[in-house]
């Protein structure tokens, strides 16, 4: 089995009284698009800054491409492609100039690949970066970070503020890279888009890692069960499996359940008060909300609670 490209073991980091990351452990397999999801302030950027060596973890260890993040941050950043949430660029340069400028720091081949990428992205020539639109600047940033053919690409909310077409272009290029054997770690809260491209998903909430699973497995394992009751005051039993959240809307009960067995309907056989039962596959967004929403109602399960048992790593 391939060595993981990224490995974190019990990484914690605090800022004053705020715990930004709490004992996070995960491994990113090579050749995948790995999506790191979380709401604002969940700890995604902190985790990425630890991986890129800008921050030191208070506890635990992190490695990227076999190098320790705390000791070899500069070397890691030289090897990978990194686009931060607000990439710094010399805005008085044109796309050609910044490509030429950056080519000096990488091997031969950078220029031609950069040229291909910006041409493919339709980046206008002869225009200074400060006069480009946000999307065009984002494309230039992406081209700069991938033109040297890095083994790993780390993108911190790269599509933030971009229009849907540009976002789609971006994400499709991620898929292309993964197909070539490169690994992409992508942090975002644009769930619906990530759902289209991600191979693996990790969900961070309030500094804790709630989920790490291949996307398909996660979706296959998570269902939304809706039961219509004959009376709004009726009490229905919980469906079998791991109930993540429960909500009621008049005479409808809704559960997000993991590991729903095939014969789950048998629980409601007889006079339980349920007059209609439905099951559907949860979207990633629904899973995300179920995992992360602090106001969600989480009934006690027979099995372990969400906080401790959601982490499933193959």
């Amino acid at each position: 089995m391939n060595q993981p490209v990224i490995s974190l073991q019990n990484v914690s980091r605090s800022f004053r009284n705020t715990k930004a990351l709490d004992a996070v452990s995960l491994e990113v397999p090579a050749g995948t698009v790995f999506a790191l999801l979380g709401e604002n302030g969940a700890g995604k950027t902190t985790l990425i800054r630890i991986l890129t060596g800008f921050l030191k973890a208070d506890e635990g260890s992190a490695t990227v491409l076999g190098e320790s993040c705390s000791k070899s941050g500069t070397a890691i950043r030289r090897k990978i492609g990194y686009v931060s949430d607000n990439p710094a660029m010399y805005e008085w340069m044109t796309a050609e100039q910044i490509g030429w400028f950056t080519s000096a720091f990488y091997e031969d081949g950078f220029s031609s690949r950069y040229y291909e990428l910006v041409t493919g992205f339709d980046v206008p020539g002869g225009v200074k970066l400060k006069n480009m639109s946000k999307g065009q600047r984002a494309k230039v940033a992406l081209a700069l970070s991938t033109a040297h053919n890095p083994e790993l690409l780390i993108l911190d909310e790269p599509t933030s503020g971009l229009d849907p077409m540009v976002r789609r272009q971006f994400l499709e290029s991620m898929v292309d890279l993964a197909a070539l054997g490169r690994t992409v770690l992508l942090s975002s809260h644009q769930i619906s888009e990530v759902e289209r491209v991600a191979d693996w998903v990790a969900i961070l909430a309030q500094g804790q890692l709630k989920v790490v699973q291949p996307l398909e497995v996660l979706k296959n394992e998570t269902s939304i069960v809706t039961a219509t009751m004959d009376d709004s005051s009726a009490t229905l039993p919980l469906p079998p499996g791991e109930v993540l959240t429960e909500s009621q809307n008049a005479r409808q009960m809704r559960w997000v359940v993991r590991g729903l067995p095939e014969d789950w309907r048998s629980v409601y056989a007889g006079d339980t008060g349920a007059i209609e039962l439905k099951e559907e596959t949860a979207s990633l967004e629904e899973i995300f909300v179920a995992v992360c929403d602090p106001r969600a109602n989480r009934p006690a399960n027979d099995s372990d609670s969400v906080d401790s048992t959601m982490l499933k790593v193959n």
Binding site: S84, A88, S103, A104, S111
Partner: protein
């Protein structure tokens, strides 16, 4: 709403205000600490200069911070989207700037004037003029005008730095215009070259009205520009309007082929040049313009401010060098662009030296311009740093150090615009210390370059942290770990490097001075302290008896009128008069009561063969004059041996003896040895008397030196002051430093020891060695302010060998004559009788 705008602008201005106030406090503390090393009038002037400088730094910087910074961050644009009038925005900025200026003036006045009064009660005329009512009014108007001009350029230029740099020539121009106006009001002429008299009331009124009018005009101008900046629609620029076609281009072709790959260093240098060349050019042009103007004024005799303008050149160039240093990291600090390097893991070394490249080249260009534009190349190129005035060596030291400081400050203060102001404000403290060091040790001034190297090393060390911009929020570590984390902060490390840079030259030079201090001659000192020096004889009322040396005063006798006449014009009456005076002098108790040494010298010079057509005066007159000299020499030497006369008096005796010996040898060479000549020769002081008198005089001088205290005054006014030795002050400007006082004492021991050795008529080789050693010690003792080419008590004590040989030759010849006369007298009694009668 206004309150909120004021609050917002006050928060923006806070950092600069704090920097200036810290600079004021730091300057005051530094000045109080170093003022014992300066004389009181100079200390007062320095205090007043900083009192003026610091608030004006605020005045020049605050418009760029309030307007330019907001423009750069985009918040000005955001303000325009809010329902707020442009007048309110502009008024809030002006009010905050005025308020801050008042706080700076008050703070500066309180701290610096109080500090100044702590250390001195005396003010120089400059200081008194500045702290008078007229001076304060003038300074207030100047500050406000400076601030208003700053707003004009801030609203005019989008770049805050361009706005800042544009203020400098503008205020220069306005000051010049004000000067012309003042001349016109007071004299009716613009190019009046004389001194200006105090203005009358109506002239003062006219000046006041003119000043007020000027300020109103500038205020109106900045208001108009504020309206233009804050209120106008953003349209196409005038250049685009000139070149525009009716429609834009619908399609832009894609990126052209990228240029071939270049080396890392080349691209980084290219990038640095591209992002800082325009500001560097403005700095250079402003500096060159100021030099041209100042040196040009020197040639205009009517401009009495020429000296003032020129005297500010070192300050101006120092400021330019600091700003060139700030340019090193300015471009990458702008909008945090340095993260570009961090995101890609580029190496620190190549980034560091390529940041330095272009601004350093501009610094070299500045030095070259100075070399080219300075009107007096000889003065500029002098190597010694002792004299006042700008020298190339001093300029290099100053500019490189300022540059190094500026680039370190820019790394530490990452707000790019603030670095342009904070740099000069914080430079005040190290500048005071290093300038004082340079004035005390001009021979060691080159060690200040160590400061520059330390600061450059510091910025190299900090470049990694500067690029990566580590997260500023600490975690919950407590105690020592937190302390260690705080110490590792880039700001703390940068300040540490600055402190190290200041300390390095001081410590190195102090170590050199201490390590080269002569060793203590303990036993020799004991002997010399114990050696008896005759107490001067005094009258019952305490007045010393031997105060009878008048002979150095210029002649007041009849001889003086003859100074322009030649020997053939010397008649018989005058001859007799001379003889009479000389005989009376020989008979007198007072030395120089009848004739002076000038008179004798004139008489002897009349006899020199070089005088055209002159016949020598009869030898009696010459001989008598020489006899007077020898009589003086003997008496003074004896009085020295008996106590009451000093080394300075002994120099008189040496000179008389020297002149007499030269004259006697001349007479001997011309006419051979005669009995009268031999008689006078016998009055030459003996070698023993000569040596003894010198020994006692020098010993006495040394003992007097050791009895002096390094401290003068009492209580609050007590301060270290140089002691005197052989009429010269020693450890000048350094007497407050303990190791310098010790070094001066040891040097005095050394010079005394060597001079005593020279008295003992050593061999030629030893004589030369002692002389060379003594000269080195003497130079060190007097310090760099004195140009020392010879030893004290020269040349008579030094040329003892030649002098002794001359006297020996005369004595030998005289003895030969006396012996042969005795032999003949023994053979012929009549001849003996005749010779006795002639004597």
């Amino acid at each position: 709403m206004m309150r909120h705008l004021l609050w917002k602008d006050a928060m923006t201005a806070r950092a600069l205000l704090l920097a200036v106030l810290i600079g004021i406090l730091g300057a005051a503390v530094c000045l109080v600490l170093v003022s014992p090393l300066m004389n009181e009038a100079d200390a007062a002037s320095v205090f007043v200069s900083f009192w003026i400088l610091m608030p004006n730094l605020f005045a020049i910087g605050i418009p760029a911070i309030l307007v330019g910074n907001e423009e750069e961050r985009g918040t000005l644009l955001w303000l325009r989207t809010l329902p707020v009038r442009w007048q309110s925005i502009a008024d809030a900025k002006l009010l905050v700037a005025l308020g801050g200026l008042v706080i700076c003036w008050l703070g500066s006045s309180l701290v610096l004037i109080s500090g100044g009064m702590l250390v001195t009660d005396k003010f120089s005329p400059f200081a008194e003029e500045m702290i008078s009512l007229e001076g304060v009014l003038y300074l207030a108007c100047f500050s406000v005008m400076l601030m208003l001009l700053g707003f004009v350029t801030a609203y005019l230029f989008r770049s805050p730095v361009a706005g800042l740099l544009a203020v400098v020539p503008l205020i220069g121009g306005v000051t010049y215009l004000f000067e012309l106006l003042t001349r016109w009001i007071l004299t009716g002429q613009i190019n009046y070259g004389g001194a200006l008299t105090d203005p009358t009331f109506s002239e003062q009124l006219a000046l006041g009205v003119a000043t007020l009018g000027g300020m109103i005009f500038v205020a109106a101008l900045q208001r108009m520009l504020a309206r233009r900046r804050l209120n106008r629609m953003v349209g196409r620029s005038w250049s685009k309007r000139l070149n525009s076609s009716s429609t834009g281009v619908a399609y832009k072709p894609p990126v052209a082929v990228i240029a071939p790959r270049a080396s890392t260093a080349k691209v980084l240098v290219w990038q640095q040049i591209r992002q800082c060349w325009h500001l560097g050019l403005v700095i250079l042009l402003t500096s060159v313009s100021y030099m041209l103007l100042s040196y040009g004024f020197r040639r205009d005799r009517w401009n009495s401010s020429a000296t003032a303008w020129e005297s500010l050149i070192p300050l101006f160039l120092g400021l330019a060098a600091i700003w060139l240093g700030v340019l090193v990291f300015y471009g990458d600090n702008f909008k945090n662009r340095r993260s570009y390097f961090a995101d890609r893991g580029f190496t620190v070394n190549v980034i560091w030296w390529t940041r330095l490249s272009a601004p350093f080249f501009m610094l070299v260009a500045l030095i070259v311009f100075l070399l080219v534009l300075h009107p007096d190349t000889d003065t500029l190129l002098r190597v010694d740093l002792h004299s006042t005035g700008l020298s190339l060596a001093g300029a290099i030291i100053e500019l490189v150090t300022c540059f190094a400081f500026g680039q370190l400050v820019c790394q530490w203060i990452r707000r790019p615009v603030l670095a342009f102001f904070a740099g000069p404000a914080f430079a005040v403290i190290p500048a005071i210390i290093l300038m004082l060091f340079a004035s005390m040790y001009p021979n060691y001034a080159w060690w200040i370059m160590i400061s520059a190297l330390v600061m450059l090393f510091g910025s190299w060390q900090l470049t990694g942290a500067w690029i990566e911009n580590p997260h500023r929020d600490g975690n919950n570590a407590g105690g020592i770990r937190r302390c260690i984390q705080w110490l590792k902060k880039p700001e703390v490390r940068a300040v540490s490097y600055v402190l190290l840079a200041i300390l390095c030259p001081l410590v190195i030079v102090a170590s050199l001075r201490v390590s080269t201090t002569p060793v203590l001659r303990a036993q020799w000192r004991q002997r010399l302290l114990a050696a008896p020096v005759p107490e001067p004889k005094t009258y019952p009322n305490g007045r010393p008896i031997y105060r009878n040396l008048h002979a150095e005063k210029y002649s007041t006798y009849a001889f003086a009128d003859k100074s322009e006449r030649s020997a053939d014009q010397f008649g018989a009456d005058e001859r007799n008069e001379c003889l009479k005076l000389l005989r009376e002098e020989l008979a007198s108790d007072e030395i120089g009561s009848r004739v002076s040494r000038e008179d004798i010298q004139w008489l002897l010079e009349l006899n020199t063969p070089t005088l055209t057509g002159a016949e020598n005066l009869d030898s009696d007159l010459r001989l008598l004059a020489t006899e007077v000299l020898l009589d003086w020499s003997n008496r003074v030497r004896q009085q020295v041996c008996e106590g009451g006369m000093s080394c300075m008096d002994l120099m008189f005796a040496d000179r008389c003896e020297y002149d007499a010996s030269i004259a006697l040898l001349d007479m001997y060479d011309q006419k051979g040895m005669t009995r009268p000549l031999a008689r006078v020769i016998s009055q030459i002081p003996s070698a023993e008397l000569r040596q003894e008198s010198r020994r006692i005089a020098l010993q006495g001088e040394w003992q007097v030196y050791n009895r002096q205290s390094w401290w003068v005054g009492e209580g609050k006014s007590m301060q270290a002051a140089p002691k005197n030795f052989l009429g010269f002050p020693v450890a000048l400007m350094r007497s407050a430093i303990p190791y310098e006082r010790r070094r001066a004492d040891r040097n005095v021991d050394e010079i005394t020891y060597l001079l005593l050795k020279l008295c003992e008529q050593p061999s030629d080789a030893d004589h030369l060695q002692f002389q060379e050693q003594a000269l080195v010690v003497w130079r060190d003792l007097l310090g760099p302010r004195h140009k020392v080419d010879s030893l004290p008590l020269s040349p008579y004590w030094i040329s003892t060998q030649a002098h002794a040989e001359r006297i020996d030759r005369l004595r030998v010849a005289a003895q030969k004559l006396m012996k042969s006369s005795e032999v003949k007298a023994n053979e012929d009694p009549e001849q003996q009788q005749d010779s006795r009668e002639s004597e």
